[in-house]
């Protein structure tokens, strides 16, 4: 009934379908949800690991990835290195990654970042009381927002993502090409 080539194709598909994937960690996703209409992002006024103040408002004119995370959150840990890879890919481009940590000490965070193959060079901000998370209406970790150059929410993602995946890079690339327009 089937040609030899078709039989091989069907058998390989059958084998793939039979491989159990149930016990594995859920895959890191590559989708982003477009926020329509783009609303002005809530503010962020937090201190980084060096106790320096960081303000989201000061980053207008750049695309900003705002990632809410904690070291005890398994998908946060899994996606973390992909944000650094993204930052490296976008070196010299107007893109900033802000990792907003929820309630942990610098010692705990440093112990985690020390285990990363590529140590993060993006700022890690300390949301000690979870105020920023409440302001941004985050309901679960990790949650990530991508802010356009005009300071508006452009994309949202709940759950772990592979930030250096071509599909996400393509979305970010499009944001980077957008005209800044009038900055408020």
């Amino acid at each position: 009934m089937f040609s030899a080539q078709c039989r091989r194709l069907l058998l390989s598909l059958l084998f793939t379908a039979a491989v159990p994937v149930w016990a594995d960690d859920p895959p890191l996703q590559t989708s982003l949800t477009a926020v329509k209409p783009r609303l002005t992002a809530p503010g962020i006024e937090l201190r980084d690991m060096n106790d320096q103040p960081v303000s989201l408002a000061s980053l207008k004119g750049q695309v900003v990835i705002v990632n809410f995370w904690a070291t005890w959150c398994p998908p946060c840990r899994r996606e973390f290195s992909s944000m650094e890879r993204l930052r490296k890919i976008m070196t010299d481009r107007p893109l900033v990654v802000l990792a907003v940590n929820e309630g942990e000490s610098t010692d705990v965070i440093e112990a985690f970042t020390a285990t990363q193959d590529i140590p993060p060079k993006f700022p890690i901000l300390l949301d000690q009381a979870g105020d920023a998370m409440a302001l941004w209406a985050v309901r679960g970790l990790p949650t990530t927002f991508i802010i356009d150059k005009r300071g508006r929410l452009a994309y949202r993602a709940i759950g772990g993502r592979e930030f250096d995946h071509p599909q996400i890079l393509n979305r970010i690339e499009r944001l980077l090409r957008e005209k800044t327009g009038t900055l408020n």
């Binding site: 989708s31 005890w72 398994p74 942990e104 009381a129 949202r156």
Partner: protein, 207 residues
Amino acid sequence: MRFRVRGSAGEIVRSDASCFIGLCLMSLLPFMANAGETRYSQSAETGNATWETEMDGVHLRMTQIAPDQARAFMSARGLDEKSVEEFARHCVFMTVLRNETRQPINYCLADWRFVPEGGTPQLMLTKHDWLARLQPRHLAPPATLAFEWAQFPVEQTFFPGDWNQGMTTFELPPGSRFDVVYRWRQGKKRHEGVLKNVQCTMPTAAP
């Protein structure tokens, strides 16, 4: 479909058509095998069991968390001993919900039920229940924050590809078996799936 064409060209047409039909049937296999079915697996490393199901594109997975693992996690977050013990006495699972559909979904844990073997449907404990219990103990803010956000979100709107992972707890004795009825809305339509025959970790043998 026409298969009356003779000669080599006809053979190609017939072969392609049957292959196309075969591929279509193959593409249905994962759904035929998995839709609504509860799959079970066990970690060789930890011995923890996992149950997973999928209904209408929404996946639910629950993995046992042993009392010692729950204790270790909560102690490391700075929770006091009394709270740690109280939490670890419960039937705890690492729970993952994923939206693999093409439309947003919305769920609320208040709509979910668990049904113990031979029992009636009940509500699971949510982070609100736990926070109400912990509040009088005046825990350090970082410990409370970690405890709160480690629990599975009480409600969420998941767009395509969105997912969460968090702890769910059930007031059941060790080794209890139960079903979990999970519900969500997609537009105006209500959906539900059932994760069947989930089991709390077995009681630990006395030293």
